[in-house]
Subunit: 349 residues, 3 copies
């Protein structure tokens, strides 16, 4: 179950560079392409003529053309032309509201009449020249809510990411979870510890000593439908931690946009936004590579967890204090589902 | 749904060169082999002893022997022998009528009592020394009727085969569809156009100029249960087109035998018969290679179309004038199904 | 259907050398590991916290730790610890009785209260310095009972293993099947024949001429739940055959432990125990390699047989005299199932 009257990240602009892109989102097969003005359009990936996927076609003069018999599909879902045919009476496709902003293409998979651009999650860092972003996308075979759970409980770093960002002190530090309107915030502060490898490299990359004690923080913020942005960082100990002046710390925002594909698979858009050395493309690439490796470590765990849950539908999972972030996030999702009139299912937990 | 009381191409003779061949046709698992006289025989691919596939066995002295415990299966489906056993009381397998003719092995998957060799489709070119044939086979994951639709509407060439046989003028030329008894004929004539790459090569191969205007034709002929033979060619413009004398044209017959495997897969036997330079084996090989590439281009489209249709069972497809060939062909198939007492389903369209 | 209140081979000790092992047995996903004392333990492969497979975790100080969030699972199935948590109220996992003996790890998948170490099948050769054992394991996609049938009717050697241990005389020799309490014994004696390649090599390996007539024997013994031990050998003809003195024969025991994974797949532990040159590791390796090749020949046949049976559920298989060993073995399994209160299904035959 996924809320549909909301904005999801559908793809990255570079995925549209060479032609139409077919992608299933919230169970619906959709084709994305750029029209003559460069605007991204999205319609059902189904040719009304003979059912071929329009994503196997091409874009000609900014119009989407079916690659089987040449039907030209309009961005509004109405067939616009076809060689030798009058298309006025042809059945129409669903057309989807799309916004391209913040370096992503966003889709509203639900009722187009309710699509509200103002409801798009605001990302200040994505519009600021003081920040740089690098990231990627993984296709993961599990319920998107298992990924939300994963990101809203970072104690897993100690185990899944032991060689990069994990450290024993995460487990030992208490976690606090609170609601902020429609957001869930889970935070953990670890004072006067030694930084793990990833953060030592970030300190060095920021011109700071990496062999002195630091204060470390993790502030995970869930926003509906399924965004998790995590403020993370370390500051040389005794300079105020999270509140320390820039010259004493290395910090950034872990960016996670989680888009359901089916009930048991999703598209995971991951990345990192940082406000130091934003013009250093080499640093961006290096962080991206490190982060890509770290997030790949989660994949096997999540996919095997999904299969285990499908095999044990009768088992209730635990909801510990460390799980509060995920539990609260799921409650918000269930409220959205209820408000859309969908049955709120607790599948996966 | 497939008519069963009819002849389908089951395999090519070379597929029987090294031993028994197991192949599913019209939903039935069948084993083919050559007996002592060289005649092709076909029985259910199931050993009555322990259920092993007989196609994993071998042929000894012209008899099919199960590779598990040595049961000898008769060509009539009656177990003929087994070491140390009396086989008179053993259950029998279904045996299938088979004809080897025209360079193919033909199977009658339905009621053997109704099998009529005279009902086999006649192929004059396959028996004439003036003609040469080259071809191959593809295993395609879609309803065999989607392949019939594909071949009875060649406007797809413009899109799917843009670099070889496609050209804009196909779309623009009107198509005519007519019935000839139990056959459906769809034809298109394009006068005074430039030939596309495949036909330029054929003109050259035939010793004709390739840079002058030509008249081009395509005459698709569906015969039940699922054969599509297409007369294709080009003639130097102004010499009578289809009726032009041999020295002015390059022409041939595209041969398509489409054998259902399951409801959503089929064996596609494709090839080309030509009546020029029939002894030129190098030309045969070169045409075969080109045609193999072209037909491979259809595969992804057809298989993705099939998946799209399975996901959208509620959507009606369009039946345009260009689809008339496929629509009429399906009607004939439905009549055959009805006459066999099978429910006529319109699956896939 | 598989009896559960019985001992099955679960794994070989070397499979536990580098960490926990996840393996499905009798439909249950189980994790195996060595505790601090070196004893093998087995519990459900499901973390009560969030459902991750415990087999993705690690062993720390002899305790099994979940690799997702660090829950420590006790060998008794009770969560023993978790960072920052009180685990007393956590739900428990099933813990399985395990015995390590005879070079194998044995599991009792049923009711732990009924687990009886004395019920473990006794293997005298596995405890004697006069014997050597070499073997391996295959994962096979068929009902474990098809493998029992296979091993209790060695006429298949003539066909499936024609180039190694098969020979025409197997087919021709009568087979006798008898019950010995809860065991089924099928035997065949072939006197004054030439040995097939595998046995010629064994004769040579034993310092005996390989080009003289031999007496050959095969004595297959099924013990519940699914063990098949086969006494096999050849003796120079005229020295008493099976009863011949050691200096006239080459003999050994083919060892087959067949552990159900699902209704249509199993783990096949195969090997050979021999009482000649037990310290010759090279010979052990060479026999193991030859046997591995031979048993691989059965795999395709069995897996294809399984698929054929699933497609033809209405067909009854034959129960010939040569099948008596398998038929009787299945009756014993059905009695065990009935005594466990499971419906006795004849699936697969």
């Amino acid at each position: 179950m996924f809320p549909k009257n909301t904005w999801y990240v559908a793809c990255m602009p570079e995925e549209l560079a060479t032609g139409p892109l077919g992608r299933r989102i919230c169970g619906e097969a959709i084709v994305f392409y750029r029209d003559a003005s460069g605007t991204v359009q999205a319609v059902e990936d189904f040719c009304p003529h003979r059912g071929a996927p329009l994503s196997l076609g091409f874009v000609h003069d900014g119009q989407l053309v079916c690659g089987y018999h040449g039907l030209v599909m309009g961005a509004d879902g109405k067939p616009a032309a076809m060689p030798g045919q009058r298309v006025q009476g042809f059945p129409c496709n669903k057309a989807y509201p799309v916004i391209e902003r913040y370096g992503f293409v966003w889709l509203w998979p639900g009722d187009p009449a309710q699509a509200d651009p103002a409801a798009l999650h605001h990302l200040a860092w994505a519009e600021s020249p003081d920040w740089a972003y690098g990231g990627g996308m993984y296709h993961i075979q599990c319920d998107y809510r298992l990924m939300i759970d994963n990101l809203m409980d970072l104690t897993h770093e100690t185990y899944v990411h032991a060689s990069s960002i994990g450290q024993k002190e995460i487990d030992e530090a208490p976690v606090r979870t609170r609601m902020e309107g429609e957001q869930v915030v889970t935070s953990r502060f670890m004072d006067n510890i030694m930084a793990p490898p990833f953060w030592r490299a970030a300190l060095r990359g920021n011109g700071l000593a990496d062999d002195v004690p630091v204060d470390r923080w993790q502030i995970c913020r869930f926003s509906p439908p399924s965004h998790v942005l995590i403020e993370v960082g370390v500051a040389h100990a005794g300079h105020g931690g999270y509140e320390a002046a820039p010259e004493h710390k290395a910090s950034s925002i872990v960016v996670d946009f989680i888009t359901p594909e089916t009930e048991t698979s999703h598209w995971y858009f991951w990345g990192m936004a940082r406000n130091f050395r934003p013009d250093d493309a080499e640093l961006t690439a290096s962080i991206r590579q490190g982060q890509g490796k770290i997030f790949a470590e989660d994949m096997e765990m999540l996919e095997r967890q999904q299969r285990n849950l499908l095999e044990h539908p009768q088992r209730d999972l635990l909801k510990l204090n460390i799980d509060a972030g995920g539990v609260q996030s799921r409650r918000i999702i269930e409220r959205l589902l209820a408000s859309e009139g969908q049955a709120a299912a607790g599948a996966g937990a």
